[in-house]
Subunit: 216 residues, 2 copies
DNA sequence: GTCAATGCTCTTGCATACAAGATTTATCGT
DNA sequence: ACGATAAATCTTGTATGCAAGAGCATTGAC
């Protein structure tokens, strides 16, 4: 329970940003956060410095911290990179997966099927996350997995918006099927291509995102 | 000159780590750093929190901060991701480069030629960095460019070791030539493939890296 | 002589205090 | 009445102080 205070604050504030409790552009007042969490300003500042280093907030000298607002264009760029990393994870997974990896992937895929056919988009959201994390793990690249998890986390709110689009859940699940097939067949290039397409938000999916962002 | 103290400390310590002044595994004593830079412990701690968030150091509760030592395997993983990101940057650059981008890339390439044929591997190191940054910029993806620069920076010490290997500078420059050609020809897939190969450290280049690391 | 236990010291973690810049409000002048 | 300037207040940035835990040394026992 010692250093955990800063770590706890970091997670709490980060979650607050991701769950949109702290909206983009919002000011993060140090004393306010300190009293809210029942600590002094020091650990709050240390947590904010970490979020600043990650790129979630911006600290303007003498003017406080604000939640960064990545415009639609930058969000698109982030998905572009995410697609590339997922593609790499998929291709590595196809070459390196073990029996345990196969089991985990198939289990997550089965859960996705359940929540998808039940039409439960919230449940699908979590099962989808497990599915993708199973692929990261199967890539057997710790660094890649970390990068993917971090980016996935940052894109969480927008991913969530996307699933609200009509039929997106069903489409997503269908794509998962092909991805699983490619990976388990050991087809690295096919897995890479499919995952890249699955993750990237080209064409009308980008328009949908912009529209949903604007209406928020 | 206000918040810049923390930022300055962050950069100084980060540079110290990258230039191996603070070797992997070294303890970073707060008071020691504070007196060394003529400040109090508070900004030092805040800088350390940032480096911790980036993943350059590890802060063990009540036991201080140590420089992270990524073993050879993890370094390989980092190069693997770097290769993928550079490949993406190259493919985007091939599709999006402007006249100004072409000029910058060619200028950096010309500088590389100078330092390469002069056999000056230190100079080549810097020109090489400019060359790669020119490609990031030409990708016209701000987020991708940031990610590339950050990873490039973290891999700096190992990249530097690599250039010491016999003929690596000449080989590197030759690869640059083909990359420039592919990008300026607008051949996105070729640019991606060449850059990926250029950056990744497969086969004997990995052995060289491990050997050089061990002898350090 | 060696191992273990206890106490001391040193470092970290958090809080508070103080200083400096930014913002807001109030007052004065036109 | 509106705008500008100055003062007051609020917030951030840095230093210092205090408490608690981890490491180290010394001493005692077997």
């Amino acid at each position: 329970m010692s250093e955990n205070v800063v770590q706890r604050l970091r997670d709490e504030i980060e979650n607050g940003i991701i769950s949109n409790d702290f909206a983009p552009g919002a000011r993060l007042d140090e004393v306010q956060l300190a009293t809210r969490f029942g600590v002094s300003r020091t650990p709050v500042r240390e947590a904010l410095m970490q979020l600043n280093a990650i790129g979630l907030i911006e600290i303007r000298p003498r003017r406080g911290a604000v939640v960064i607002d990545p415009g639609p264009h930058r969000i698109f760029e982030m998905f572009e990179v995410m697609a590339e990393l997922e593609g790499l994870a998929g291709s590595l997974a196809a070459r390196r997966f073990t029996d345990a990896d196969r089991t985990t992937i198939l289990a997550a895929h089965a859960d996705c099927e359940r929540s998808s056919s039940a039409g439960n988009s919230d449940a699908y959201y979590y099962d989808n996350e497990r599915f993708h994390k199973a692929i990261y793990a199967a890539s057997h690249s710790g660094f890649l997995a970390e990068q993917c998890v971090a980016l996935h986390r940052r894109l969480q709110p927008y991913r969530r918006l996307q699933l609200r689009v009509r039929n997106r859940v069903a489409t997503s699940f269908a794509e998962h099927g092909a991805i699983v097939e490619a990976i388990l067949a050991g087809d690295a290039e096919q897995a890479r291509t499919l995952l890249r397409q699955h993750v990237s938000i080209q064409g009308e999916r980008f328009s949908d995102l912009v529209a949903t962002l604007a209406s928020r």
